[in-house]
Amino acid sequence: MNTSSYKQKNSILYSIGAILFFILFTTCKKESTTAIGDANVVFKVNNTSVTTEEYDLFLQDQKALTYNYFFKKYKAKNSPTFWTTTIEGETPINYIKTKTNTQLTSIKVVQDYASNIDLVPQFNFETFITDWKAENNRRKIKKNAGEVIFGPIETSKKEYYDYLQSNLEIRLKDKLNTTRFKPSKEQLEALYRSFKNTHFTYNDTIRVAYLNFPYNTSTERKERLKQAQSIYGKLNKQKPHLALDSYKKNEFYHTKEFYDAVKLYGEENPEKDLKAYASNLKFGVLQFIDTKLETNSSVYILTLLAPHVQATRPFDSVRKDLSYMYKAQKYKQLMDSLSNNVSIIFNKPVYENITITR
């Protein structure tokens, strides 16, 4: 499977997931507003409290994007009244709170679930702060003593929070993958049938003719782009094969055969990228490829010399991929379900009094 198809398929999956999550989140979750009676709590997610300090940590992180949103949409600039000025029904303070609520809710759902299955103790922000300070202190002491520290010597509060949360999610997935998400062969076979054509059908042989306009510097790139565009404009798009034939004696002209069995490695291997472009190409199409890389790349005009010879990977060879897909699906379903049934109680006096100064 090539890079682009992976990306495209992932994007589709992510998009569908995001839409489903949004629908579930906005239609099914139970939200209520009341006075919790604790001036230090902004809201509760399944009885897990979000304190004012924790809330502020995430609120501050949304500021830049909130400014960006209101500037892009309404040309609103930073001013003393920015946060409370309503424009066409939208107010920055409400916008940023909604973003913060969504982010914190998804975090609390994970923390809450992880503690419910005894993976970690119940999260407590005060304890977290103590830990954070201790960890920075520990690292500082170790550095001063000339001992080894991996990662940054000092981390901000938000960095540390994200660090622990990202590791918690890894650990939760590992736990679920080894205890709950254990697919049977039948389940994997069903998944295989569903994704056989989209994910596991590949081009066994790719035969491509192409004009290659390599460049090193951005100035060269502009020249090559211009040159390639000029040539591309004159080529007969209806008969691409014949069109490129007229350049056979030109130094730009090349042909190549790629085989699935011959893997191309290296993160910066231009042949690997060319294979990916050719793999996505349909027979009879003349394609102009600008890699958009400023330096050290190429502009291509390419067409297939023959239709792709396709094959399908057998079930056994993609079993690990299927297992990964199954587990990823199951994890997402679980999180969607938890979010769907989440109970959110806002501490009205505290929540409504949250203000932002510049």
Partner: protein, 600 residues
């Protein structure tokens, strides 16, 4: 009696007359070749030549502008230099010097005149910007009269010692385009002032001016600190080849002293994975070779960016080129990078680069790519970094922690912590790839494989050395040491391969031209001479990044130290040029070498 008195008086008069006629006796040679070097706006270095015979010292005189000379110092022999400090910037001074002894002064030396440099008092300025309370009609040179718009900054070419300070909590929507150069003594500083959040620069998804929110072009001696930077139109789609912060040189120059520190770059582009977009990008370009010398990218946070986290690039340092102009003195350290659409970090075109203490998180969310790799480098060292969470659909793709990529020489990967990556701990690529060393790292629960080789049929990598690493795999994971790629041309010494649980570990592909000596194996078939089989007796394995204990955050990774009685103690093979210390900084060796990352 009178006659005698008259004679004495006459002799005294004659003696006196004789002395005044000669003015000063020329018994000491005059100093020569007095020269002056301006050090700064307040400091001048002087030197002169003199044989110093019959000399007690020197009397140095100075005059300011067209004023009169006055003596400013008595200097003892054998000195023949003087550092004159406390001067006024941009002022002409003239110096002369003469030698003296207990009886005489010499003649004066030549005169030498200099003008001190422009300094903070006369040239360098500090500019203040406040997006709320500033006003573009202000002078902009103090907090009370700050400018408001970054267009004021974009219009200026800055000079040595200038500072551009942005008010904390301010926000600018647009591009910050920096120009000018500082000096070694007086770099140009960009920073925040006041308390609160870092000043925000939102590019809004701009593709103009090299597609970046903050740009420094063809400027040397800059320090950019404490900015929060985004560049997105708010959508999740591809927005073009855009970046958060770029430094560019395309004028064939050697660019010295570029420091990017404590910046927070996030939300650049959409959910994309190209290498043409990302967070921080430092590049050379242009027909004539240009490069950086003394590049520091430190303590930044880069998160939620499409494409790359931090990267460097140049067309002038290919390993295949007849002459290379690589970046020099590069240090990328203390950064927290990720999630990123593609690689967290790519270190290209740099010689002797140090990449350390970085935290590499959830790399390659929207495609494949290793957390970090190098390309077109010589002597690149990756150390003390943590890389984790590089996950995605499986298969034969690049998705590991640390990659010693091809077109490189002398790559060292040491003292790193890799865990929970989807495609293994370390990767070695095809030639050109000379002298790869991977040592004293800890890999915990990296999945699929431990080592990958970036070739199956193309080789060309010279002999690699992999020693004293710990590879721990918890129960339930299906990991092969070499899954899909044939290991090639590598020495494996003193490593621990530890597979926990009832599922025995597996080797995968059969090694080709590899040497296994003095490795320890737990739950996997041993191979090579000096093999140790059985429990290595770690202190507490599997307690690294996996242990999220809110109440008692552990002293992570000490779990991979050896307990007393471990069969790995003193069971290793001596490795020359071993870096001289273990993962925890203990000096090597204590007795015979131990196996694993700990020297007990």
């Amino acid at each position: 009696m009178l006659k005698k008195s008259v004679i004495v008086a006459m002799l005294l008069i004659l003696a006196a007359c004789s002395k005044s006629d000669t003015d000063e006796p020329q018994t000491i040679e005059a100093p020569a070749s007095l020269s002056a070097t301006v050090i700064s706006e307040t400091e001048v270095d002087l030197s002169w030549n003199h044989n110093q015979s019959n000399t007690t010292g020197y009397k140095l005189e100075r005059k300011k502008g067209s004023g009169s000379y006055s003596q400013i110092a008595l200097i003892d022999v054998p000195l023949s230099t003087f550092n004159n400090v406390g001067l006024i910037a941009n002022q002409e001074y003239t110096y002369r010097i003469r030698a003296y002894n207990s009886q005489d002064n010499s003649a004066y030396s030549n005169e030498v005149s200099i003008v001190t440099t422009l300094g903070n008092q006369s040239g360098a300025k500090t500019y203040y910007l406040d997006s709320v309370d500033g006003d573009d009609s202000n002078l902009g040179t103090n907090e009370a009269s700050a400018w408001q718009s970054i267009s004021k900054v974009n219009a200026l070419t800055f000079s040595a010692g200038d500072k551009i300070l942005f008010k904390s909590g301010s926000v600018w929507n647009g591009q910050l385009l920096l120009k000018g150069s500082g000096t070694n003594a007086m770099p140009i500083i960009v920073d925040k002032y006041g308390t609160g959040n870092k000043p925000i620069f939102n590019g809004g998804g701009t593709t103009a001016n090299d597609g970046t929110t903050v740009r420094l072009k063809n400027g040397a001696y800059w320090e950019i600190n404490n900015l929060e930077i985004t560049n997105t139109d708010g959508s999740d789609i591809q927005q073009g080849p855009i970046w958060g912060l770029r430094v560019i040189v395309d004028n064939g120059a050697e660019i010295n002293h570029i420091y990017i520190r404590d910046c927070y770059v996030h939300d650049v582009n959409g959910d994309v994975a190209g290498k043409d977009t990302g967070g921080i990008y430092v590049t050379a370009d242009g027909a004539s070779p240009a490069f950086y010398n003394d590049l520091k990218i430190e303590n930044n946070r880069v998160s939620n960016v499409g494409g790359l986290g931090i990267a460097t690039q140049s067309p002038h340092a290919s390993m295949n080129a007849s002459s290379r102009t690589p970046f020099l003195n590069v240090r990328i350290a203390g950064n927290s990078v990720g999630p990123t659409g593609r690689n967290n970090m790519i270190v290209r075109v740099s010689d002797d680069a140090i990449v350390e203490h970085n935290r590499l998180i959830n790399s390659s969310v929207f495609d494949k790519g290793h957390s970090i790799f190098n390309f077109n480098t010589i002597n690149c060292t990756m150390q003390y970094n943590e890389a984790y969470g590089n996950v995605g659909p499986q298969g034969v793709i690049d998705r590991g922690g640390f990659d010693a990529d091809y077109n490189c020489k002398d790559t060292t990967i040491q003292y790193n912590y890799s865990h929970d990556n989807n495609w293994g701990f370390a990767i070695m690529k095809k030639g050109i790839n000379d002298n790869v060393t991977i040592r004293y790292n800890i890999s915990e629960n990296d999945k699929i494989a431990v080592y990958f080789y970036g070739f199956e049929f193309e080789t060309g990598m010279t002999r690699a050395n992999v020693y004293n690493n710990v590879h721990y795999v918890e129960a339930g994971l299906d990991v092969k040491v070499f899954r899909d790629r044939t290991p090639f041309n590598t020495n494996f010494y003193n490593n621990i391969f530890h597979f926990e649980g009832s599922n025995a570990g597996a080797w995968g592909k059969e090694p080709n031209n590899c040497l296994f000596e003095n490795n320890a194996y737990y739950n996997i078939s041993p191979r090579g001479a000096g093999a140790i089989s059985g429990d290595p007796l770690f202190v507490a394995p599997n307690t690294g990044g996996q242990d999220i204990d809110w109440n008692n955050y552990p002293n992570v990774l000490t779990g991979y130290k050896l307990q007393a009685g471990s069969p790995c103690i003193n069971a290793g093979k001596v490795v020359a040029d071993n870096g001289n210390r273990d993962f925890w900084g203990n000096t090597l060796y204590n007795g015979n070498p131990d196996i694993g990352a700990h020297e007990f």
